[in-house]
């Protein structure tokens, strides 16, 4: 199967300062990728390097199996067949909606162009706004127009830089779902940059966690949540605590919460001091359980409570419980562990 996008050991530098390095990843046709990381981590620089706005200082970028970027040599953006959706949408204020969408369709004749514009406008349900100007649109409408404008010339890959960040939170999730559906229907390969993990989970097939100038993991959403490969990923994604433990002779893990069995990652030898990542959903509430811990804090989240419990040593653990289980602070509640994926890190 061919690869739509491939990065080999890519580094990007501004004025001699490397902002991101050692990035290797690939996307198959029709896949949606996501670069997820805190602000200033270099994810946008990486996207801009793929678009051709920034040169790479090391490595290679291949688009549609053609080398487009290497140090000292970069195919200009306009020859790359990429579509880009910007954080501020960058709609041209002097052009109508239809003319914005048609902007990149130079090679078509007027009839084809009109047909393509109408088709796309209908796809996002904005055909009635054809003659409107960008300032007359709402934020969500502007976002959709920016998206179909980038899709119009049928680019090899669609690049999206924080495409939902300027929208209201409620609108964001709804649009993320809509956009995913749209891209999947047309089989468009895309990569988006965001700092919002829920957005990443909602949109992407493959997620790359970027931090401290590196790509930590390029994996499915499930895996980066449950099988993080670095402490950075474990900390950045979701919630959880690190439970100290020790690998036993029987290749199980002895912790304050008892012995945990399961498939251990490679390289764990008996006697190793480790820390186990415990997600709130790994800890189940069970009134029958012998193991009872004191409630230190609780946060109501609608469908569930997030309880912070304390082990005898004072070590806190998190527990997610359906919200009709009320327990007061100071109460002792029964829990049991249900750890399916074991994520271990060397003890600090």
């Amino acid at each position: 199967m061919k690869t739509e996008l491939e990065l080999k050991d890519v580094a990007v530098a501004y004025d001699g300062n490397t902002v991101i390095k050692e990035v290797s990843l690939s996307l198959q046709p029709g896949e949606i990728g996501c670069l997820l990381g805190p602000s200033g981590c270099g994810k946008t620089s990486l996207l801009r390097a793929i678009a051709g706005f920034e040169p790479v200082s090391h490595g290679e970028i291949h688009l549609n199996e053609q080398l487009v970027s290497q140090p000292g040599n970069s195919v200009p953006t306009e020859q790359r067949r990429v579509g880009m959706v910007f954080q501020d949408f960058a709609l041209f204020p002097h052009l109508s909606v239809a003319k914005n969408v048609a902007f990149g369709l130079k090679k078509m004749d007027a009839g084809q162009r009109d047909a393509r514009v109408n088709e796309l406008l209908q796809l996002v349900g904005l055909a009635h706004l054809k003659e409107a100007h960008p300032h007359q649109l709402s934020g969500g409408q502007q976002q959709r127009i920016a998206l179909i404008r980038a899709m119009a010339p049928r680019p090899d890959i669609l690049l999206m830089d924080e495409p939902f960040s300027s929208l209201d939170t409620e609108l964001r999730e709804q649009l993320a779902r809509e956009v995913r559906e749209l891209l999947k229907r047309d089989g468009i390969t895309a990569i988006l940059v965001t700092h919002d993990q829920l957005e990443a989970f909602a949109m992407a097939d493959v997620i790359g966690v970027v931090g401290e100038g590196r790509l930590h993991q390029w994996d499915s959403g499930y895996n980066i949540y449950h099988k993080p490969q670095s402490r950075f990923v474990a900390d950045f994604i979701g919630q959880g605590v690190m439970l100290p433990g020790k690998v036993s002779e029987a290749l199980a893990i002895d912790t304050e919460l008892g012995t945990i069995e399961g498939k251990l990652p490679l390289g764990c030898k008996p006697g190793c001091e480790i820390e186990l990542l415990l997600r709130p959903d790994d800890v189940l509430h069970d009134d029958e359980s012998e193991l009872k811990l004191e409630v230190k804090e609780r946060a109501f989240r609608g469908a569930e409570y997030l309880y912070t419990l304390a082990l005898p040593s004072g070590q806190p653990i998190l527990c997610l419980v359906q919200s009709h289980h009320h327990h007061r602070i100071g109460e002792r509640i029964g829990i049991r562990l249900d750890v399916e994926d074991i994520a271990l890190f060397p003890a600090r």
């Binding site: 020859q79 990429v82 579509g83 910007f86 204020p93 902007f103 980038a150």
Partner: protein, 543 residues
């Protein structure tokens, strides 16, 4: 290492534009001999004292008018407020020297006011006391009447941007509206008001026409007299350098205030403003105060000019007047195009290559707005004359050819001076247009397969069009009104409307000067209309 053409060309432009400034400052070190001694002993003290007194007078009057009207139209409700909001800008259209001689004509012994007074009372010559317009106080009033809109504009914007919450906090803590104004509203607007005031004072220092006509000895008139009367270039340049010192203080004040204004700006403007409704006497005096400001600043002088023009236009509008208009338009069009091209070049240099050199060069190139026309003229004549003389003697020695005066007394010298003085105007207009084209728009176009040249044609030019026209218009009008630099630098027998109006007025042919003056005032209305349009637009956006 690649040669950076943007850095080189923008620094080159900035350096060339800085020549007049360098020349004036460098002349401090040229001995001016006895003339300087003579100046220092006799008139220098007068120049300093008069300039300072004039600044104090203009400051007091323009602050009263500018802040007072700005507060009334932005914070209170009274009959006519909506009209006053834009109409209070109208006095900006009249150059100070024109309002000065108009009032002289209206108020002198033979003028309509004193004549009516005598007719009503039966008094004759010497029976009564009447204030003399042609005095330092008169000059201060004239300048303040046409300059207060600078303060009005900035103060009004500051009052409108004050967060309603801050004012409401003060009210909720038990302060009445007046106390709130003096303890919260006014202090918050102070930086903006100070910035406006420094612009007013810069214009006051730069004024030549008014003080010359009124016979008040200030720096600008002193420079003229030393230049023409004593024929001593270094001494004139040294006077200019002292004047520059005053300007530097004002520019520093303005920059500092603008920075402060940013800190004082409490961010989001209020969504709905509840204006203070005025009642009874307050209501009446608010209307009267704004009306009087407008009446004395625009309606009366413009009306008088109109009446005079009706009386005299048949004799005045002739072949000669046509030549005059043609010359003026020629100059103004050339200067505004030149300024626009330079401004485009500098702005694109800053956009495409935003390094330190380019940013500094662009700022330096815009400094001329603060330098009085007289100073720029002196700084242009000296180096251009030196260049002509040097070239001429060298050519004579080498080839026995006399090249004569190549630059001095040509349109080129005049255009160069205008460029130095007014480039900031077009720089600013182009900049505000270019800011609307975000970098991501360029990138979006490139991602859709457009090359840079095509982006210029499909995005930049259509989006910039309005700003480019504004830039052209503003410089055009400024050139039309400019007097002192034109007087010094114009080619022999080359007149503009401003120079002609000034000459006729100086010959006491006030009524005859009206046609030229009125033409200038009407052109001066263009920027006022542009400004009031942007005022109403910002009001629309607030809604």
């Amino acid at each position: 290492m690649r040669v950076n053409y943007w850095s080189i060309s923008s620094s080159g432009i900035a350096l060339i534009l800085a020549i007049p400034l360098f020349v004036v400052v460098a002349n401090i070190f040229v001995p001016a001999g006895e003339v300087w001694q003579h100046l220092a002993e006799t008139v220098l003290r007068d120049y300093v004292v008069n300039s300072l007194l004039l600044m104090v007078g203009v400051a007091i009057i323009s602050l009263t008018l500018g802040v007072g009207t700005a507060w009334l139209v932005s914070m209170t409700e009274f009959p006519g407020r909506r009209v006053f909001e834009w109409a209070l800008l109208l006095p900006m259209a009249i150059p100070a020297y024109i309002i000065a001689y108009t009032y002289t004509g209206m108020l002198d012994f033979a003028g309509p006011v004193q004549t009516t007074l005598r007719e009503l009372t039966g008094w004759g010559y010497g029976d009564y006391w009447f204030p003399e317009v042609r005095s330092l106080e008169g000059a201060a009033i004239m300048l303040a009447l046409v300059l207060y809109p600078y303060i009005y504009l900035l103060a009004r914007a500051a009052f409108l941007s004050q967060s309603l919450c801050v004012l409401e906090v003060s009210r909720s803590l038990g302060n009445g509206p007046w106390r709130t104004f003096f303890s919260v509203g006014l202090p918050l607007a102070r930086p903006a008001i100070a910035a406006g005031l420094s612009l007013v004072l810069m214009e006051t220092l730069a004024d030549y026409g008014t003080v010359q006509y009124f016979g008040v000895d200030t720096f600008t008139t002193g420079i003229f007299r030393t230049w023409y009367g004593l024929d001593n270039a270094p001494a004139a340049a040294q006077l200019a350098a002292i004047l520059l010192l005053f300007v530097v203080v004002l520019v520093t004040l303005e920059r500092y205030s603008r920075r402060q204004a940013r800190y004082h700006d409490s961010g989001r403007g209020k969504s709905s403003l509840t204006r203070l409704p005025l009642h009874g006497w307050g209501r009446l005096s608010a209307t009267l105060f704004c009306l009087a400001t407008l009446l004395f600043g625009f309606l009366l002088p413009a009306g008088q000019l109109g009446l005079w023009a009706i009386d005299t236009y048949e004799e005045m509008i002739d072949q000669r007047f046509a030549t005059l208009v043609f010359h003026t338009l020629e100059l103004a069009v050339l200067a505004s195009l030149l300024a626009l091209i330079t401004a485009l070049l500098l702005n694109y240099a800053r956009r495409l290559q935003p390094n330190r050199t380019v940013r500094f060069a662009v700022r330096a190139a815009g400094m001329g707005y603060a330098i009085p026309g007289t100073v720029i003229a002196v700084g242009v004549v000296i180096p251009f004359g030196w260049f002509d003389n040097t070239l001429d003697s060298w050519m004579r020695e080498q080839f026995d050819i006399s090249t004569g005066l190549l630059l001095s007394g040509t349109l080129a010298a005049l255009l160069f001076a205008y460029l130095v003085r007014f480039l900031a105007v077009s720089l600013h207009a182009v900049e505000s247009g270019l800011e609307r084209i975000t970098p991501s728009m360029d990138e979006a176009a490139r991602a859709m397969g457009e090359r840079p040249a095509a982006i210029l044609g499909r995005i930049h030019i259509p989006m910039l069009k309005g700003s480019l026209i504004t830039a052209l218009l503003l410089v055009f009008v400024d050139v039309l009104k400019e007097l002192p630099a034109t007087l010094i630098l114009r080619p022999f027998n080359f007149n503009t409307l401003a120079v002609r109006a000034y000459e006729l007025a100086a010959d006491e042919r006030l009524a005859d000067a009206a046609s030229a003056a009125l033409a200038i005032v009407i052109a001066g209305l263009i920027p006022v209309i542009l400004l009031s349009r942007s005022l109403s637009q910002s009001r629309e956006e607030k809604k």
